[in-house]
Symmetry: C2
Subunit: 339 residues, 2 copies
């Protein structure tokens, strides 16, 4: 690999002149002719600035870490794309990490930041980590921004308008005439589960609808969790006629389990989910969903990390633009009795 020195030798100038030209400093203080010679030499040698050399000198890597619990998840993929696009526009690169072992004491963050591999990070922890458990992780003053959870005052955060997501979903079922509307939620300690709950509750309260006890499950966000949730809800008396699901993966599970039990969707039971993804389009029936704007979350998170890195400012942001959007497919219909 060619170095600055190689380019300088070829162009017959000093290393610093080359550095000034190639790192396009605002004022390179070099004559047009020299500049051209340098550029020619650089491209002839196919010069690229060495990452380590630059990082060592400037104490900046221009890399931000993005750590999510599970890359498999289509939602995080969308988030990642947003993060990458924003980073690219600002001359940063995204380094992806898994937060599998981001528990208090987990190593990922400490390593990435401590070894100077990244300048800052956007961190979404799994459902299993209660927000309180994050405190010591964040005790360092490193530029970390939480994604889809928040500890006000401790670190910056970027979250979705979860409340509005479940509100829209619940209103959709109410609008179809449902009253026995259940809610398949995430784990109680989960930050998003708490917020999604309020939207569901508010919609019911506003409509003056009361639901029987046990109409909220709190199993989790995986496909299997969804299967369990459906069994729990279908064991109730009276059975719900509609279910709002707090996560699309869980919704896929609910749908599969309904099928297994011979419950027809949407004839016997309507299912609407929060989150949309390509999987939701390809279930049978295709899932009615409230699309949450994960792409925007990714962009916002990276913007926030970079601001934190460059100016030190911290902020807690909620992504409301674009707003959550109801996409009606075929898993919802009026309740059976309403014929």
């Amino acid at each position: 690999m060619a170095t600055l020195g190689d380019v300088a030798a070829r162009a017959g100038v000093s290393i610093s002149a080359v550095s000034r030209v190639l790192s396009d400093a605002p004022d390179s203080r070099v004559s047009a002719a020299t500049k051209q010679r340098i550029l020619d030499a650089a491209s002839a040698l196919n010069y690229r600035p060495n990452f380590a050399g630059r990082a060592l000198k400037s104490a900046r890597t221009q890399v931000v870490g993005l750590v999510v619990p599970d890359i498999t998840n289509a939602l995080f993929t969308e988030l990642m794309h947003g993060a990458e696009d924003e980073a690219a526009e600002r001359g940063y690169t995204v380094l992806l990490g898994r937060s599998d072992d981001v528990r208090p004491g987990g190593e990922v963050i400490a390593r990435l930041i401590g070894e100077g591999r990244v300048d800052g990070m956007a961190l979404q922890v799994g459902d299993g980590v209660p927000p309180a458990g994050l405190r010591d992780l964040l005790s360092t003053q490193a530029p970390i921004v939480l994604v889809n959870s928040a500890i006000p005052g401790q670190a910056g955060s970027v979250t979705l308008d979860d409340h509005r997501g479940t509100l829209l979903a619940t209103e959709h079922l109410l609008g179809l005439g449902h009253e026995r509307i259940a809610f398949a939620n995430g784990l109680p300690r989960s930050f998003t589960a708490k917020r999604r709950r309020t939207g569901y509750k508010l919609a019911l309260a506003t409509a003056g609808v009361r639901v029987p006890a046990g109409y909220e499950t709190r199993v989790g966000y995986t496909v299997d969790n969804g299967r369990t949730a459906l069994r729990q809800l279908m064991a109730l008396d009276p059975r719900p006629t509609g279910i709002v699901v707090a996560n699309v993966n869980a919704a896929v599970g609910l749908l599969g389990e309904a099928r297994r039990l011979g419950i027809r969707v949407p004839d016997d039971l309507s299912i609407v989910t929060v989150h949309d993804s390509w999987t939701a389009e390809n279930t049978w029936p295709p899932l009615t969903a409230v699309k949450m704007q994960f792409y925007a979350v990714g962009r916002t998170a990276v913007r926030s990390v970079i601001r934190r890195i460059e100016t030190g400012e911290t902020s807690d942001e909620v992504v409301t633009d674009p707003p959550p959007e109801l996409i009606i497919r075929e898993s919802t219909a009026p309740p059976p009795s309403a014929t």
Copy 2:
């Protein structure tokens, strides 16, 4: 962040002594007592070796790049996990990249390698890039290993036993009594499509079964491609009673389109796919699939890259262990006429 100098000062020794101890050189040539003082100082200061400093000096990053066309794809996720596990065991880190713009002239590879961000890479290009187009990308002597494609002699490669995958899938349908078996394949120029084709052909030939013209589509591996493929195949006369699909995402599309057209699976039509993933379990009906060992591919690819980096050896490997495995679910049954 604490540096070697900080640790040295605290322990009252020289920087080089600290370096020797902390980079656990086989022979640190340091007395037990000094060593202990150094270790204490390091942990008191929470010392971590600076990545850039080390990389600059040693001209090694201990990072391998993994570039895949689409991180959304569940298959690549599995591959990634394999890659990460292997890397971790060998003291390397995986840096993930997207190959969206890996066409001849694409920048990703040149950047990662040229800027010294990675020591080598495993590269899977999208279906759209014909193997020939890769040549110039690989003209550099950089330690690059191709994944799921190969240009013998040009770079190392790691591939799946694609042939055996479609062979098993086709034999499964034959075993159920199907004879009118179609094949929904990828694009003709795709490396894997060519290999998958041979398995299908061989199984039919061995069984002495001949199929009508038009029984192979070559649309591609996406969900939408799958929908198109199904329409093409169902327009044929006679219609196939079974379809072997070369990719699970396409299979999801075929299934959805069959549903839309009122074709019952598996009663009217059996569908078996190559590849397995969690999506295959959650379609309706759940897809019978031949599981291909992507996790093993990831491990093998990283092992191969590291060998290339450290010893310069190149190899072309086919992952046959564990072998492809047929997982029978509910999308396949005997053909309608065979009652």
